[in-house]
């Protein structure tokens, strides 16, 4: 059927390039992107292992991602709880504001932060990067937690209080367990997003190098191409796994929780 082949073709279109990267990580040719690869080897993996600059970039990326995710988890949950529980004046606008960092292209966030740092004479540092990453990570966590709140029956909280649990007890025994997987999924997505982020980071990092910035430099002025490929494979894996995990976490909680019918 024509439709089926078109669909399959489209999916292949999406995934073949990624498979190619994997292939090219093993090629022996290091000066060009020759296809088919003349030979296969594992040596580039050990080359990457010994490169100091890659390790530095990697550790910076991990540190930034961890801190940004933590901030995002706290702020995102607070915001989701506030937006869900009550209707108040200005709710729509706040909803829009929270979405804005992801809705507008990264370059706007990046250049805005740069302009602000410039205006306030703030030098580039670890924290300038985190400021940028934290902002859009909050949105990711918020979206996940708010969606989970929406699928949770409101009467669960009422039932808990009716039975004698005060607000804090209700949060600990009823609310938290129900949003736990959403928090986990949101956190993992935020981590992957931050780890991979390059657009905003180039504006806020100054001289520092995260792993994506390292890759960008290599892309523009390639030295050892297969080394870049190996790093690319590595980045793919590091971002793939949390996404997969988050997907499975969210998928199993499709139905409305707590509904009696």
């Amino acid at each position: 059927m024509g439709l089926k082949s078109a669909a399959v073709g489209g999916l292949l279109f999406l995934h073949v390039p990624l498979a190619l990267i994997l292939l090219y990580a093993f090629t022996t040719e290091d000066k060009s992107y020759q296809f088919p690869p003349p030979g296969l080897t594992l040596k580039w993996f050990s080359v990457v292992w010994s490169r100091e600059d890659i390790w530095t970039a990697l550790s910076l990326s991990i540190k930034v991602a961890t801190v940004s995710t933590t901030i995002a988890l706290v702020l995102g949950t607070l915001a989701a709880a506030a937006m869900f529980r009550s209707r108040f004046f200005g709710r729509e606008s706040i909803s829009l504001l929270i979405i804005l960092p992801i809705a507008l292209p990264g370059i706007i966030t990046g250049i805005s932060l740069r302009a602000a740092f410039n205006l306030a004479d703030i030098p580039f540092s670890f924290w300038t990067i985190v400021l940028g990453h934290g902002t859009f990570c909050v949105v990711v966590v918020y979206n996940n937690v708010v969606a989970r709140f929406r699928r949770t029956s409101a009467s669960l909280v009422e039932a808990s209080m009716d039975l004698g649990a005060d607000g804090l007890q209700t949060f600990r025994y009823i609310v938290l367990p129900n949003i736990a997987t959403a928090l986990l999924a949101g956190g993992m997505l935020a981590f992957a997003l931050s780890f991979d982020e390059v657009i905003v980071t180039t504006f806020t990092a100054g001289q520092q190098t995260t792993l994506p910035i390292w890759m960008l430099t290599e892309l523009v002025r390639p030295r050892q191409r297969p080394v870049t490929n190996v790093v690319a494979v590595f980045v793919m894996v590091i971002t793939f796994l949390p996404i997969l995990g988050a997907y499975y976490l969210i998928r199993n909680t499709e139905s409305v929780e707590g509904g009696g019918k």
Partner: protein, 342 residues
């Protein structure tokens, strides 16, 4: 007689909408009290005000003599069975039931033993280890009941708990709930839109309409002598005799309600009984409802009366059929003048 719950001029407005409009009434201790009415009539809002999930715009509510203003739900001696049961999905049944004791700090062994007792009370003794998602609707409803009773509240609020169950199960549960209430001796406040349910289970009931109570009384009072047109039509079927006719036929000065089962159908040749009111008409529709048969009779003045008779054994010549000329008879005492709500 002790008063369990007292509403004093309670209002709950949502902007322009008057969900509860100046309600004043009492519920006695140990009573099975129903709040009956269509959706949006304010009965669920009253329940929520009692439970503490909402605050009145004005007026106040007393529970066992103490005002409930500013008292959060977790400090009221009132428990609720929710319409959607609201069972905690991440806990199993016995932990759900024991929840009320857990948050009070009761030790694990004690509270699990009590929870077991409650589960036996609602006849779910061996389902403690299951999760809510694994239970049927009727079972979940009973878990919700057990969970609400474990705190031994003096007032239990039930928000249309049987709405999702099918007819047979609903009828069984009605009997069980009534028996439970009588044995436990606590006050049940029961919200429903099903008038048969309210009539069969309650000691007293209140008929709600648009935020107000149109009538409070025992089921018999409400059915036999409906106070307003709304009550007459909402609780059971009713014929409305307009005031002019009511005056001419029986001397009443208001519209009257007349229950369909109080009307007798005769063939025109038959003699009416002493003191009966008789009107002639033609049968225009006959509907068989099992134990009863419903007839629509068009009177000479154009008005249609609904008449309900016990279905006869066989379709013999006495059966009223479409097109037959009949006389509809009833006695004056079956007509009840309707007023407006006070």
């Amino acid at each position: 007689m002790k008063i369990a719950v007292r509403f004093h001029s309670v209002c709950r407005y949502f902007g322009e909408v008057r969900a509860v409009d100046n309600l004043t009434f009492e519920v006695a201790d140990g009573e099975f009290f129903s709040m009956l009415g269509p959706s949006g009539s304010g009965k669920t809002t009253c329940l929520r005000l009692l439970a503490g999930f909402d605050q009145p715009t004005s007026g106040h509510i007393e529970i066992h003599g103490k005002t409930s203003e500013g008292v959060p739900p977790y400090e009221r001696d009132v428990n609720t069975v929710f319409q959607d049961y609201a069972l905690f999905p991440h806990m199993n049944v016995i932990d759900n039931v024991a929840y009320g004791l857990m948050v009070k700090g009761v030790r694990r062994a004690t509270r699990l033993a009590r929870a077991d007792e409650m589960l036996s009370l609602v006849k779910l003794g061996d389902l403690g280890a299951r999760r809510p998602a694994q239970l049927s609707g009727g079972q979940r409803q009973r878990v919700a009941l057990a969970r609400a009773l474990i705190n031994e509240p003096r007032v239990l609020l039930l928000d249309e708990p049987l709405g999702a169950l099918d007819l047979k199960l609903r009828q069984d549960m009605q009997i069980e709930l009534k028996r439970l209430q009588r044995n436990l001796g606590i006050t049940f406040i029961y919200v429903t839109h099903d008038q048969e349910e309210a009539l069969s289970m309650s000691d007293r009931l209140a008929v709600f309409n648009q935020g107000r109570i149109e009538q409070i009384g025992t089921p018999r009072e409400i059915y036999r002598t409906p106070g307003t047109r709304f009550v007459a039509n909402f609780v059971g079927l009713s014929n409305l005799i307009p005031a002019e006719w009511a005056q001419r036929l029986a001397g009443f000065h208001a519209d009257c309600s007349l229950r369909p089962e109080r009307i007798r159908l005769m063939v025109p040749e038959e003699q009416p009984r002493e003191g009966e009111i008789v009107l002639g008409g033609t049968v225009v529709d006959v509907r068989f409802h099992g134990a009863d048969t419903l007839h629509e009779v068009e009177l000479k003045n154009g008005q249609t009366l609904i008449v309900v008779t016990k279905s006869s054994e066989d379709a013999g010549p006495q059966e009223a059929r479409v097109g037959m000329r009949v006389h509809a008879c009833w006695s004056k005492s079956d007509m009840h003048p309707l007023g407006n709500i006070n």
